[in-house]
């Protein structure tokens, strides 16, 4: 989750409340506050559904409402400006959507620049899917001359990218510029690359990779041009979040006329979205009991425009920077936060039902009882394992067996590449780890294995000591089968894991449901085990 650094002094100034008040209420608005508050700042994690809180300005705006200092919808004035941006057909197959805005009269402190850059990065992560869906560029507009052009350019075009001093082609940037290396894959297979230039053909931005060096923002920058490009309407939300956060810093927003073949529009559009919700529905969902007026008051504290308009009906204007309002319940949750989770009355529902354990768990408990009675200790090994241990070491490498295992596509380590198809090798791994403890050791596991993608339930046991013998395990299997009331046929086994002539298969209705016997010394040696082991494995159920 994005971490937003909040400087207390900055926050006190922006919110108009004391540090203590802010800190005591922040979590209840919806945030994870790190345990490590520093002297002058605290790092706070906000949830991924609230990208409007990824900047100090956004947090301040929300906090002012939550604390009741300033409530209701913030109306951001957008002055109609003269700047035009032309979208050309050539870019539409690559990165079709663009929104832009101008914000003037800013005074940047280093903290404000840090907050803006942090916001940009967090939005790239939170809304932008690492720039694929949404990418943001911020420019010092005084360095360029409108109108602007957004088009698909030949990758051989040269310009000086941000943080570089020499020209290079866009193609080269994808391999040489650090941002090109990080995000170049987004443009893979594209014949033309997106580019924004001014009327003198100077480059502002090569989205979603890098800005031109010409328009880089410094503490002297006063007027900004912001472009947000991408493939999803989330582009406009991201633009609104950046623009309104700058407006909170005192910037004046000016619109840009975006011209395109499917129709021109003025950008940004900071109009709220309109909803009508019933207090009755909110009460039914949350369990409190609010009138329309009370619901409206709660929502105003979450910076919605809200007005009770008779009965339980409330007209709601959701701010243009909110990316998470999809459904009336999203609005009701905000009302509950404003009301205060700590004030909600926790009560048990009257739903009457009868509890019932799953038959497989009942069976497992029976097996545990029997195995404990036989002196075996329970273990609960991982279900992820690897082919080497599971098949090769067990001398069970037949292609068919390996093919029936579930292989994960991108294992995180060589140790965990498949789901186990049997339990025995997992027990042997545990015994191998425990050789320094006194023998005999008798362990069992009862759990899931996956064969042909289906979950089956197995039992396996292993007993290691110098006197471990076939007759010992024969006694155990007879006891287990008797307790579980299963009567399979017992026939000599061909299982490579068992010693020839000292291993048996359990066959029920023509299917092999298990095996038992003395383990093959080559299996023991593969696991680094030095004492005889007798073992059994039994499939007793499936889901």
């Amino acid at each position: 989750m994005p971490v937003v650094r909040l400087y207390y002094e900055d926050m006190e100034r922006l919110i108009g409340a004391s540090r203590e008040t802010i800190m005591s209420r922040l979590a209840m608005m919806g945030a994870d506050i790190g345990k490590r508050a520093e002297k002058d700042h605290v790092d706070v994690e906000f949830f991924p559904d609230r990208p409007d809180l990824y900047s100090a300005e956004g947090v301040a705006r929300a906090m002012q409402g939550f604390l009741g200092i300033k409530t209701g919808l913030v109306e951001y004035a957008v002055e109609k400006g003269p700047v035009v941006l032309q979208v050309e057909e050539s870019v539409k197959s690559v990165r079709p959507l663009i929104g832009c805005a101008i914000v003037r009269g800013l005074e940047f402190t280093s903290e404000a620049i840090e907050s803006l850059m942090g916001l940009q990065e967090d939005l790239h992560w939170g809304l932008g899917r690492n720039r694929r869906k949404v990418a943001i560029g911020v420019h010092d507009i005084s360095r360029v001359t409108p109108p602007f052009r957004y088009f698909g350019e030949d990758p051989g075009r040269k310009f000086v990218p941000l943080d570089f001093t020499e020209e290079m082609t866009m193609q080269e940037m994808l391999h040489k510029h650090p941002k090109g290396k990080d995000y170049g894959h987004i443009l893979e297979g594209c014949e033309r690359y997106p580019l924004i230039v001014d009327s003198l053909d100077q480059v502002l931005s090569f989205p979603p990779i890098i800005n031109g060096d010409l328009t880089s923002v410094t503490e002297d920058t006063r007027d900004l041009f912001i472009d947000v490009t991408g493939t999803d309407p989330m582009v406009y939300k991201a633009l609104n979040i950046v623009v309104t956060s700058l407006a909170e810093r005192g910037g004046r927003v000016e619109s840009v006329l975006v011209k395109r073949s499917e129709g021109d529009f003025l950008s940004p559009n900071l109009e709220p979205s309109l909803w009508e919700v019933h207090a009755d529905e909110a009460n039914k969902l949350i369990g409190f009991n609010l009138t329309g007026t009370e619901l409206a008051e709660c929502l105003q504290r979450m910076r919605f425009g809200a007005q009770a308009i008779g009965g339980d009906l409330v007209r709601v204007s959701a701010p243009a920077y909110r990316a998470d309002i999809m459904h009336s319940w999203d609005i009701f949750e905000d009302a509950a936060k404003a009301f205060g989770y700590e004030k909600l009355k926790a009560e048990l529902p009257r739903t009457v039902t009868v509890g019932r354990a799953h038959p497989a768990e009942v069976r497992k408990a029976e097996i545990r009882e029997v195995m404990s009675g036989l002196g075996y200790l329970e273990t609960m090994p991982f279900t992820l394992t690897n082919e080497k241990v599971h098949f090769e070491w067990m001398r069970r490498s037949a292609d068919e067996a390996v093919a029936r295992a579930t292989h994960v596509l991108h294992p995180i380590s060589e140790l965990h590449t498949i789901l186990r198809t049997s339990l025995l090798s997992c027990l042997l791994e545990i015994l191998a780890l425990n050789q320094h403890h006194p023998l005999p050791q008798r362990i069992f596991a009862v759990g899931d294995v996956v064969v042909d993608k289906k979950t089956r339930m197995h039992l396996a046991t292993a007993s290691i000591h110098s006197g471990a013998s076939f007759s010992e395990i024969r006694s155990v299997i007879d006891a287990v089968l008797g307790e579980l009331d299963i009567s399979p046929e017992i026939i000599p086994s061909q299982d490579g894991a068992l010693m020839p002539g000292r291993g048996a298969d359990l066959v029920l209705d023509g299917r092999r449901i298990g095996c038992f016997g003395e383990l093959h010394p080559l299996v023991l040696r593969a696991f680094g085990l030095e004492q005889p082991i007798v073992a059994l494995e039994l499939k007793w159920g499936e889901l």
Partner: protein, 488 residues
């Protein structure tokens, strides 16, 4: 009156064997039996028994560190050189060393400056640390005051071992004045049936002969045995299952291999959601059959008929068909609800889930998750809070508080926190009401209250584990030593 065994032991002792272990080995007897004979021989004046207790010392982790690197006060002394202002020594870690430094009189504070007082020779405690590192362990060769000091600082531990030493009392030949009788060790079935047993005297008449019944030293320990038992973690899981069953929930289970449809799409997770990416989820190279998806597709693209905006874009069935190892049990839950859409439903499951995470002390790629849901007419978010309070109280967490949270498929969402002595408020699990976008496509008309938590996190708290791997790659000694009576 001695038995044959006693005689053998006496003989061995007279031949110079002086400890029970070597005598037991020589005579192929149990050590306990040798000790019992020796005690009897002692009572009758044939043998002298010298019992001794030796205290053996070993370094603790911290002690080992200091033995290798030097005591902190020694290091501080070296660090201050000719003197250092106290203002430079504010680090809290210095405080302890400073205390010892002054206690030992190696340094003093003059006008705010810490100065060495003399040449600070090696102390007894330092000598002991050195010898323990070199392998010396017995109290007989180590300074007692030094040992006590180190023990109080938690740098060494001690354990006591008993030993026995036997000598014959007469140097002349054995058995000159020894009266031998038959003696009985183990009682046989035949003796029980046909022997004549005296009420209180230690004699048995059997097959017309009189036997002395050997007395055992009942204070002696025997070989250790360990019972078979349930895994402590399973014990915890079963406790939680019992709580859920008591609260009237039906236990449900599902497949480990799931389609993305049930694991993600049915829960209204957009197809480009970061949690669905390869780095967080174990994907398989196979496709699953999925049910009629028209309503789910419509919900994702435009919000269906519940007044939602949906995610926009194009929902693709081939993405939903990709198989994964379930990343949570919620996929199993929504499938169960789709099959049981009529109220009331109360269901729970505790099962293994898979996340593509590297293994370390607090992360494992698979772990158990508990999940519970309540679906009924007129249930509310406040009821969810009520259930959570009840559930956590039954788990032994009496104090619970609620903070807003965020989960992609619930609205409203809440993060419960429980109060744990010594740790403070600890986040434990997540909860919320299933979004309409989740329930509507499956014809579920009433609110679904849902909560879940990582069971292995609870195990760490309750079993005091420092390393999660111990649950799965268990140390057998830990399993043997964790009593079934452990409070969970």
């Amino acid at each position: 009156m001695l038995s044959e065994n006693d005689l053998k032991v006496l003989k061995a002792i007279s031949e110079g064997d002086s400890d029970p272990q070597s005598i037991a080995k020589k005579l192929d007897m149990k050590v306990e039996a040798v000790r019992a004979s020796a005690d009897l021989l002692n009572e009758q004046g044939h043998v002298q028994v010298i019992k001794s207790v030796e205290e053996i010392f070993a370094l603790t982790e911290e002690g080992k560190k200091y033995a290798q690197e030097g005591l902190p006060e020694r290091n501080l002394l070296l660090a201050i050189g000719p003197g250092k202002p106290m203002a430079d020594l504010k680090d809290p870690s210095v405080k302890i060393s400073l205390g010892w430094l002054r206690k030992k009189g190696w340094a003093a504070i003059e006008a705010g400056v810490l100065k060495p007082t003399g040449d600070a020779p090696q102390g007894k405690d330092e000598e002991i640390l050195e010898s323990l590192l070199a392998g010396l362990k017995s109290s007989t060769v180590l300074d007692n005051n030094g040992l006590a000091a180190l023990k109080s600082r938690g740098l060494i531990t001690s354990s006591k071992t008993k030993s026995w030493n036997y000598k014959t009392t007469q140097t002349i030949g054995v058995a000159s004045n020894i009266d031998i009788v038959n003696e009985v060790g183990p009682i046989t079935s035949d003796m029980i049936k046909s022997g004549h047993w005296e009420d209180d005297a230690p004699y048995l008449t059997y097959k017309k002969e009189k036997f002395h019944i050997r007395r055992y030293d009942v204070t002696l320990a025997a070989d250790k045995i360990y019972p078979g038992k349930k895994h402590p973690y399973q014990r915890l899981i079963d406790n939680m299952r019992e709580i859920m069953l008591e609260m009237g929930f039906v236990e449900i289970k599902g497949q480990i291999v799931q389609s993305s449809f049930w694991n993600f799409d049915a829960l209204f997770q957009p197809q480009d959601h970061p949690a669905r990416e390869m780095q967080d989820t174990f994907y398989l190279d196979s496709q699953a059959e999925i049910p009629d998806f028209a309503k789910v597709k419509q919900m994702h693209e435009c919000g269906g008929s519940v007044g939602s905006t949906g995610w926009g874009g194009c929902w693709r069935p081939e993405v939903a068909r990709q198989e994964v190892l379930r990343t949570h049990t919620t996929g199993v839950t929504i499938k169960y609800l789709a099959d049981h859409p009529r109220p009331p439903v109360k269901a729970f499951g505790i099962d293994r889930v898979y996340r593509r995470e590297a293994i370390d002390t607090t992360h494992t790629p698979e772990f158990e998750q508990l999940e519970g849901i309540v679906m009924d007419e007129n249930v509310t978010f406040c009821h969810l809070l009520g259930i959570l309070k009840e559930f956590y109280a039954k788990m032994g967490f009496e104090e619970v508080r609620f903070r807003p949270g965020y989960f992609p498929y619930t609205e409203p969402s809440v993060e419960p926190e429980v109060f744990i002595d010594g740790l403070g408020w600890v986040e434990l699990g997540g909860a919320g009401v299933f979004r309409k976008e989740v329930t509507a496509p499956f014809g579920i008309e009433h609110p679904v209250l849902a909560w879940g938590l990582g069971v292995s996190r609870v195990a760490m708290l309750k079993l005091g584990l420092k390393d999660l791997r111990l649950l799965y790659q268990s140390d057998i000694e830990w399993l043997r030593r964790t009593p079934v009576s452990i409070k969970l």
